[in-house]
Symmetry: C4
């Protein structure tokens, strides 16, 4: 019926990238909007304020974790889009579903900071991470099948993008499962693993030239 | 009087696209900002929290519906802009009016989640959808008349874009009219219809090559 | 001392455009964030809700006015940037000052909706409009003097951009001065004038070809 | 292990610029979201409202300072990105860390407006500025070492970018140290210094041509 519209809808990978940058930008900034300044009534001296700020540390750690998460998925999505020659409506909708989960992250983060000792909150947070990864995986599969990947992309890059998602999801699942001990173990493990990924100590600038 | 300014104002379709991505990005992320974490006082155990999260399901469904709506209209607007060779002030202002209605969506959504059993809330929500569609229709008419559509756009694409708006609006109007039974019927129908559109089960990747 | 840095800083007109679209996009969407859904306790029937929505009309009119204002200034700034071949640090900082006033608009709007019968609120609102116009005027002056305007821009376009700012500011000042009668007169006049500008009934598509 | 992914991840300097514009745009607009309209109950006459607006002046000064800060760092980051031929994952993550600190700025600003006479609040604010500068410095070092700087960038530009960060940080540190007298001295000094930088009275348009 509306096949013809479907054939021309959502073909701009630049618009998709711009909307993604908008949504990631808002979501990343909103995370910290919930970081409340200490109540004025409770602060009577410099040391009160210092103590109140130190008390914000666990919350700040969760925000850092969510920012790292969004950063990692932003890099992951960017890497895919950089290798696309265009888009089509199915691919666009997979990315819109991915972006819906990005807009859920501030909620999952508020839930976790509010109920940091509850396994339920941690499992909900992990479900968000899992679904983000699943959609990124679906998106890459779709892009490959629909012939949207640039023709000069080496096959090992196509594989590396898939493998990276599997590895990360395995670590997230292991991290989440640590909540049978205590949610703090999960949070600690995930933050450590994400910082390790972000800093990537074993990655050397010289290797760069090999591919690009 | 200020004709000369009107002749040079608002000619950049890239700027229009960038502003639209900004506004859609913020509106899509703000939808879920209103999704409140359960109050700490009411949660004493893991099962309390699980129950509270389950209770958020109807709200989450409305947010999903609004995100789908914004996604559908974003794809619709993108598809139009992709086929424009430039813009001019009338067209720019039609799109600004369209964007005003986009910024109304978080309000209409809050209204519907707050008064989910009220027909008035549903009719207000539908009016928002209807006006979004009407402006998209006006915009395409204006673009065609003002000679802003790229010259290599096949006539059947021009028609498909119009027809798609009519079809969607007919479904929205039917969905809204179901509220004489109960607003839940309207919401259910609209969500189902939007998911069907987003997933587009009958659309095959092979057909893609025929046009692009 | 840091002359050399000043010579290379802030030269990208694309980045300036992108930041502007971001700030305008957020400011335009935040305007309506303050539009509060009626309190649940006060609504017991469909007619209660209908009446509560009708009561929101004056607020909605102010939001529409602010959206129109931001739209007009966005078109105005876009038109300038479209004619620039690049930027330099002074010009960039004039635009950053302009964007600061854009971020003030949601505050001025909240002030006016909260104190709609107060002349002080209207004068503060008008001061915001006036400063926005003044900076746009300064920016165009600076761009001309610093040789940043594209060399193929006809002199009458350069003049039209200046003249347009003067005309609009004269109307805004007249509109604001009507508050000696009552702030409603000011609001009514400004909304009418802005709608007239946005719709531009005397501007015909055929005239377009004359310039571009 | 995932070396191959690291070699292709995060290479788009355009996406980095777009995300930065999104985050800066949201952060700059959110600063003023916290500027509260006077409470209706306290305002009974025009002069009450005028007095209440005058009382907002110190808060507005802090917001102006934060907007200037974000503007300065936005120009600083833009200047770096304008001279890059591409990005790579380490550089991208340094900028993501920089953007995390940008999202902290609205919090630091709320803290300072809430506790404007507390040294602790001022030191926290300064720490935010210091870390923003440190990451910008790291980013430029990394870009130089990884060979990401455009080959036609003159060495004196590379030096000017470094020197500018050192100079600014020295002034910020001196300004912050003035809080041993009173936080107002720090705020006054930093605002004055930033306005001086933004207006750059000694920078002449003619010098521009020397470099570009």
């Amino acid at each position: 019926m509306n096949t013809s519209y479907n054939q021309v809808a959502g073909q701009s990978v630049e618009r998709l990238a711009a909307l993604s940058d908008g949504i990631f930008g808002v979501a990343m900034t909103l995370l910290l909007l919930e970081l409340r300044v200490p109540a004025k009534e409770l602060i009577r001296s410099e040391s009160d304020l210092r103590r109140a700020l130190v008390m914000l540390a666990p919350q700040l750690l969760v925000y850092l974790m969510s920012f790292l998460t969004l950063g990692i998925f932003w890099v992951g999505q960017q890497t895919q889009l950089n290798h696309l020659r265009g888009s089509e409506r199915h691919l666009t909708w997979i990315h819109l579903a991915f972006l819906f989960l990005v807009t859920l992250m501030p909620f999952s983060t508020r839930l976790l900071t509010g109920f940091i000792t509850y396994r339920t909150a941690l499992v909900a947070y992990w479900a968000n991470l899992f679904l983000l990864g699943a959609l990124l995986y679906l998106s890459w599969g779709r892009a490959t099948r629909a012939g949207m990947v640039k023709s000069d992309t080496p096959p090992k890059v196509v594989d590396a993008i898939c493998r990276r998602i599997w590895t990360a999801q395995a670590f997230y699942a292991f991290g989440a499962s640590l909540c049978v001990l205590h949610p703090y173990w999960s949070i600690g493990f995930i933050v450590f693993m994400q910082l390790y990924y972000a800093i990537a100590p074993r990655y050397e600038p010289g290797q760069q030239k090999g591919v690009a």
